[in-house]
Structures are given as structure tokens and as C-alpha cells.
Symmetry: D3
Subunit: 187 residues, 6 copies
């Protein structure tokens, strides 16, 4: 079980209204390589890792991804805080406004609702950890796309932080996979 | 952000192999009224509650629902722990075995992957809290259906606990809605 | 079975071309809290209400929601009647034009096709009627969002009518639930 | 708008418990070529038929398909009326019982929720009417599959009636298409 | 099995940047009546045609549709080749850029991922070939919609070619159906 | 474009009726890690590989995956060739029979229609090739699950062949990724 601590993993204070960025950031909220997908992937896979070491790593990273979900939620919310309904429509956020007002809802950047089809669990450490490494690479490049879209330092700082965490996670998943391949004499 | 505490909200020890119950329990894992749906609903809605009191309640209950996800995961996993591949096929868990082996994956009891279309966020406290009250009623009846399917006390005890939590949550959402209706002079 | 009567429940005559409103109105056509969802929800649930009184109410309201589907269809169609293909593209209605021309198709405002995952039937009057009350609140707030987007009286009048019907339905579902709670001594 | 008349288009009285048939019949309830799909297809397409004659035909048949939805609902409900929870599980109706009890919910025979992706509207009479003719052929063969599965006369009679209606609808769509092809000098 | 030949069925050289057309063309890539749908439909249906003649026709046309998938891929890619990230956002291609950069991904024009629910296979030649005839009509009108949106001859030429192929396929499916109806004495 | 050669990549002759295996094999037809997913993934990603070498590899493997789709189709079809309708129902293939008779349709082993959400394209060679390596691992373990379910040598031989091809593909994707990492000085 989890205990909530009322702080963000990394501070976020976006003052500039930027509705197109809000829309773009939804990709990392409920999109294919977004933070919800990541959290659900690792928290599901942890149960079938071969030992406690693997369970612990996936549990840690899965729990951190829940914190990233919160960060992205904040980053979607703040730049559309002051937007009027018509401004949301003009920015292509029609579905956002009419169906959810300023509330968060996990879709991708096109408004397609999150689906668990975005990830997989196979019960095989080799397949699962390779999927995790791929997932971190895909999240990394998505953050790079987002960083290409803005020059606002208030957005760039948390995006750079999140991108960096994906790189760290990638390395940790790679180490675990190498460890298991050696332990179980696989290649 | 969240901190993980390595214990279940309620102890679970299911020793009897019961594959049909494992399949049935998936309804509360990745199904329409399941615990993933509940956690995501409340953790998304919390941001647009009118004040800190509402934010706190949805955050608390959303965090507890994450603990329920873990409980259901354990309840799905334990009764199929010793099952052979052919036994899983014979129990209608073909997709489970071939696609996921003994790993957890959030589908409903038919194997349909979780979708965020199961819940809604509207930015309106009255609509959101009414949806939450409905959600708790739907989860309650789903637990009652599950309880009708088994006489195993190891399954019945956590199911009764979870059912009871839904009743408690229902009441807390109802109180919050009444409080807001009065505060904002609505009916 | 049903008999068709060739008139709208409420007259609709929208002369102003307003493609952004046409797109927004799709939310109430094939969207999560839209009129298709409502009609299908009640017409499915009616079969498991505890008595004839419940069957009749859900049947009546479900039948009225079919009339609302027609009203929304008309409200989507009229404001895009004279639009050229490029105008539809410029208004974010690319999928509408290329895939459906000026024809009606039940999606939400993002172009996501209608799915039955938007509603639920549980066989339990308490859960179903609470879901119905929530549904009416969600439809109400969606209509309020739509009314915030326009000052055209030809649009505002039917939107206000439809919003009002949701309030009436909410009250009728509430009364029925209270009646059943008392009748069956539940709380 | 529609008026409800409290009778079925064709009488249905199924007394034999047959859970496998109940599951199979879901194909025609919320499945790809089922009656919900048919009703929604025609009631959407009617708006862009070239003239009143086309509107009227699609409206009539769409309205009749709503009556068929009711018939199939009755045919799903009756053969599982007396079934216990475990019997439903044993018949592969786990999702049905846990998620919906004995209530109706529009899925296909695998439990996949209805989606509007099953049909199309193009604004072109030739494409739409050809889709309608194909739809009637697909519904016809689905009814034939259902009839191959049972020898119960109480099931066979309404299935034969519904199959025959599809043939009639096919012919009426074909006549309308021929009429328009001639009227508009197309081939 | 297939052998790849490195050439397009019809030459494509689009030099004009036209992001709104790129978005529109996605309808024929991963959309309901698009080329992926067509290829998958025919290559699946071929196995249950009554004889070798039918197998061969569906196999040929299915294989040609794979070539059309390639053509559309090229037509989506070329007009957005030089586009900057912000230009893609301004053209409503936010999801495209953030989630896929300039890579191809099979969605419809709204960004909804391809689903096999768009087509059907019934094992009945009459139903399947009628669905195929309908599919070709729907693809034809979609190409006409796309042609209405541009005056660029580099786009119009391949679109006209593809539209014409749909007409040819329609006729071949019609001939095959007529042949089978006569052979099997059906009407 | 492709040319069809009328032979299977590997011979398949399954004479034993085994409906549970037919159902299980659907996982590799239209399931998350199935051959359709693989073919679409590589044929989409090839366009954004950094050079001709990458394009060629993804094109080759994508084309081979189309041949694997055919192999799986044959492996699903043959073991249910002689099955009666009721036998299909008893084996949990209700949706297969009623909706598709003996025809092929791309679903997973639960009957969930194929969706493009199962794969991704990012325009980044590192992310895409890592996803491809993961995909091959996931397909490998799925084949191992299928091989655990049967002792029929007519099934085991093609399954072993297909499993081995996944290992070969994994290695070729790994080599290509290593080559690019070195070429572009990344890590």
C-alpha cells in the first residue's frame, strides 16, 4: 500500500498560458508512452519478477511513475488555468472543455482515452525488462519532442528532469536484466 | 507523491486453487467498476474539487484504492499459482496464459483491456461526486456477486472487507456532496 | 417496439454557420455523457428494475433520450450545412469531412467513436439508479459547457431545454431510488 | 421522436434454460452485425439520403431495428433467467454475471463492448446503401449460425422471423439504390 | 508469402508542404475505410471463399491493397517532411508530432488508432463479397473527399489513380459474387 | 509493393482437431504480440530509420512477418476445420462461430479485435529498435507458452520454427541498434 506525501517530486510553477503545450503534454499523461502507462506497467510486472531484487526495483520505479503522473497533471493544468472556453476551442481543446472543463482526464494528445493495450506483462523477466527498457526510450524521445516545442524555462526544467529520470530508469532496468541473464545463464 | 509501505491493507492468504474465481476476480482488477478505475477516477477528479477539503478526501480515497488494486492482484494471483497451462485453458483463462502466463494484466473478466472510458471527470463537484457515489454502489454490488460465487473463507474475508470499504467511501462522498450543496446553496 | 412520429421534441432552426460549435456538440452526440449513451443505458437497465414502476420510468426516459439524439443530430448538422470542405478542415473537422462528409456519426468531440464502455448495467436498482442520477448530472454540466460557448439564441434555446430535461430526469430517478430504498428497507 | 408501444414485434417465450445460447445471442445484441449496430447505422445515415424517399426508408428500417434490439434482449434474458451464479460461470458467462448479474449489456459474444466502429456513414447514397445491403447479408448469416446451434422451436421461430426481416430489408435497400442510380444516372 | 519489390505501384512526388492534407490523408491510412482495413479484410476473407477462383481474387486485391498502404504512407510523409514541430501543432497534428515525430502510425484523421472492428469476415461468400463491394464504394467516396481538398496535381494524380483502382475492385468483386450466386443457385 | 508467392514460409499440416489450441493460437494472430502487430510495426517504422540499411532490415523482417501471419492463419484454421458449431461453443469459441463461422478474424485469444495501440513508432531509431527487440522477446515467450500447451508434433514444428525466427530477428535488431549507436556516437 501507499502513503501520500503532499509534495511534487520536482517543483512546477508554470505561469504562461500555453494551450497548445497543454494539449501536447496530454501525450505524457494518458498517451501510449505516458506516465500512467509506465506506472501500470511496472506495478503489474513486479509480481512475476524472479526474485525480491526485481520486485523491489519495479515497485520503486512504478511508485515513482505515480509521482510523475502527478507532475504531468500539474503541467497540463497550470498552462490552461486562465483559459476561457472559446480559447480552449481555438487551441483544439474542444473535447477537453466540453467533456471535462479544466479537469484532468487521461487521454493522449488526440483525446483518445487511455487503454491498457499500451503495455504488456508476460511473466518472463527477459521480455518484460526489455519492454521496460523500450518504454523508457520511448518516454525519453516523447519528452524530447515536448522540449522542442517550448522555450519557457518553467516548462523546460521539469521536462528535463523527467527526461533524465527515464534515462536513469533505463539504466536500472538494463542492469537488472544483465544480472538476471547472468544468474540464469541465458543470453 | 507516494511512499510504498510493504504490506497489504488487509491480509490475504488463499490456498485453494480456484481458477474460475481468479477469472471472476479480474472484474475488480481491470474491469468497468474495478479498483484501477476507482483509483484513476478519484486521483484525477481531486484537482477540480472546490476546496482543500474535497481535494483531501479524493486524494485519500484514491490512494486507498491503489491499495485495493494490490489486494485484488494478490487475490487473482494466489488461486492460480499452482495451475498448469492446460488447467488455465480449461478454466477459460486461455488469453491469460498464452498472453501473460501467471502475470497480472488489467482486463475485465472477459479479457477486455482496461480503458479510461470507464470513468469521467467533469470539473463540477456535483457531477463528479454523484459519479463517485454511483461508482461505490457499482463496486459494492460487484463484490456481492463475487461473494455469491465462493464459500472459501480465505476469499470471503477480504471480499467482505473490500465491500465494506465501498460502503464507507459512498458515505464519505455523500457527506462531501451534501456539504458542498449547502455551502454553495445548490440543490 | 417504437413508432416514429415525424417531429422533434423541441424545434431547432440554426441558421448561423458555426463549425466550432458543431464540433463541440458532438460531445453530446456520441460522447461519454451524450444522448446515445443515455438512451442505451436506460433501455438496457429497464429490464432489471424491481417492478413495473421502475421499468416504465426507465423506458419512458430512455425513449425520450432517443428523441434527444435526434435533436443533437439536427444541432450538429445545421451549423455545418453550408460549410465547404476546407472550412471543415480549418475548424478541426478533418475527420468529419474526409470520413463522413456532412453525415452524422456518433463520436465524441475528439472524433473518438462511441463505445458502450461509457455506461453500465448491474442488475441492482440502487447501483443503476445512482449511475443514472450521476449520468444526468454529467449531461447537465456538459450542456452548461456548451451554453458557455455560444450567444446564438437559436442554439441556446434547445440547449437550455435539453439541460432542463436532465434536471427533471435526475429528480425522477432520485424519487424512484428513494421509493425503492423505502420499499426494500435499505439505506 | 418515438412513441413506445408495449409489445414485441414478434412474440418470444423461451422456457428452456440454455446458457450457451444466451452467450451466443449476445452476438446479435452488441456485436459487429448486431441489432444495435443496425439501428444506429440507419438512423444516422437517414439524414444524408438524397431525398425524402430515402430518409423515410432508413427511418422505417432503423426504427424496426430498435424493435429487434428489444427482441434480442428478451431472447438473451429468458434462457438465463433461472441460472445460478456458478452455472453462469460454467457456461463462460463470468463477465456477464460478475459485471452485470442478469442485466442486459451490449457486448458481442466474447464480452467486447459495442463500438460505433462497427458501422459507417459517408454522406454518399451509393456507399451507404451498399454498406446497408452488406449489413443485412452479415446479419442474415449470423442468424443462420444461431439457428444451427439450437433445435428449440421457441428460439428457432423468432430467429427465423428476424432472419427473414434481414432479407426483406436487403431487398428494400437494393431497390432504393437501383432507384437512385437510375435517377442520378450513375452506374 | 510475399516478395518485396522496391517500387511504388504508382509514382508519388509531392513537393508542396501541406500539413492539413497530411492529416486528412491519415483517413486512408489507418481510418475505417483506409488501405490497412482493406488489405486485412481481403487477406482474411480469402481463406473461406468457396473455391480457388475466389481465393485468388481476394489474394490479388489484398496484395494490391498492401501496395496502396505504401502509397498512402508516402503521401502522408512527403507533405510534412519539412515541417517544424510548431507547424505540426498549428495544423492539428499535435499527437502526430509528440507521439510519433515524422513517423507513420496507422490512425484515422482524428488520431484514433486502427482497430479490426472496421471490417468483418463471416465465412459466407455472399456476405463477405457484399461487404467488399461496400468497402470499395466507401473508399471511393473517401478519395473523392480528399480530391475535393486539394488542387495540387502531385496529390491529385495518385489520388485519382487510387480512386480508379477502387472502382475496378468493386467491379471484380461484383462479378465474383454474380458468378457464385449463379453457380450456387442463390439469389 | 509486394508480389505473392503461393507457398508458406514453412509447411503446415495439422490433422488433429484441437479447438482449445485454435483458440490459444489466436493470441499470435491478432493479439498484442502477434504477427499482425509485428508486420505493421516494422513496415511503419522502416520509413524513419536513419539510412537505407535500417530501412532494408525493417522492410525484410516486416515482409517476413506477413508470411508468419499466413502461417498462423493456417494453424488456426486447420485444427478447427472439422468442428461442428456446438463443439466450437463448448471450446469457448462462441464468438468465433457465431460472428465468423470458420473464417479468420484478427483478435487476441479472448476475442478482442486487433488494435494498433499494441505497437508504437517514434521516429527515433533507438526507441524504435528497442521496442522491436522487446517485441521479439514477447513473441518468443508467447510461442513458448503455446508450445507448452501441445504435444502434437504437427503443431510443435511450425511453432518451434516461428519461435526461432523471433530469436533471429531479435539479434538482427540488436546488431542494427549497436551499429547506429556507434555510428551516431550515442550510448
Amino acid at each position: 500500500m501507499w502513503k501520500y506525501e503532499k509534495k511534487l517530486e520536482y517543483p512546477i510553477n508554470i505561469n504562461k498560458k500555453d494551450l497548445k503545450m497543454a494539449k501536447a503534454l496530454l501525450a505524457q499523461y494518458g498517451g501510449p508512452d505516458g506516465e500512467f502507462t509506465a506506472a501500470m506497467r511496472y506495478l503489474n510486472q513486479r509480481y512475476t519478477m524472479p526474485d525480491e531484487k526485481g520486485y523491489a526495483l519495479l515497485n520503486d520505479i512504478g511508485t515513482e511513475e505515480l509521482a510523475h503522473v502527478e507532475m504531468i497533471a500539474t503541467m497540463v493544468k497550470q498552462p490552461m488555468k486562465e483559459a476561457t472556453p472559446r480559447e480552449l476551442l481555438d487551441a483544439g481543446l474542444t473535447g477537453q472543455y466540453v467533456q471535462h472543463d479544466h479537469a484532468l482526464f487521461p487521454t493522449d494528445a488526440n483525446g483518445v482515452p487511455f487503454t491498457a493495450a499500451y503495455f504488456q506483462t508476460t511473466g518472463d523477466f527477459n521480455a518484460d525488462l526489455m519492454e521496460d527498457m523500450a518504454a523508457e526510450q520511448k518516454a525519453r524521445i516523447t519528452y524530447e519532442h515536448l522540449m522542442d516545442l517550448t522555450s519557457d524555462p518553467d516548462l523546460l526544467a521539469p521536462l528535463a528532469f523527467l527526461r533524465q529520470r527515464e534515462v536513469v530508469h533505463f539504466n536500472r532496468f538494463k542492469e537488472l536484466r544483465d544480472y538476471y541473464l547472468q544468474k540464469y545463464n541465458k543470453k
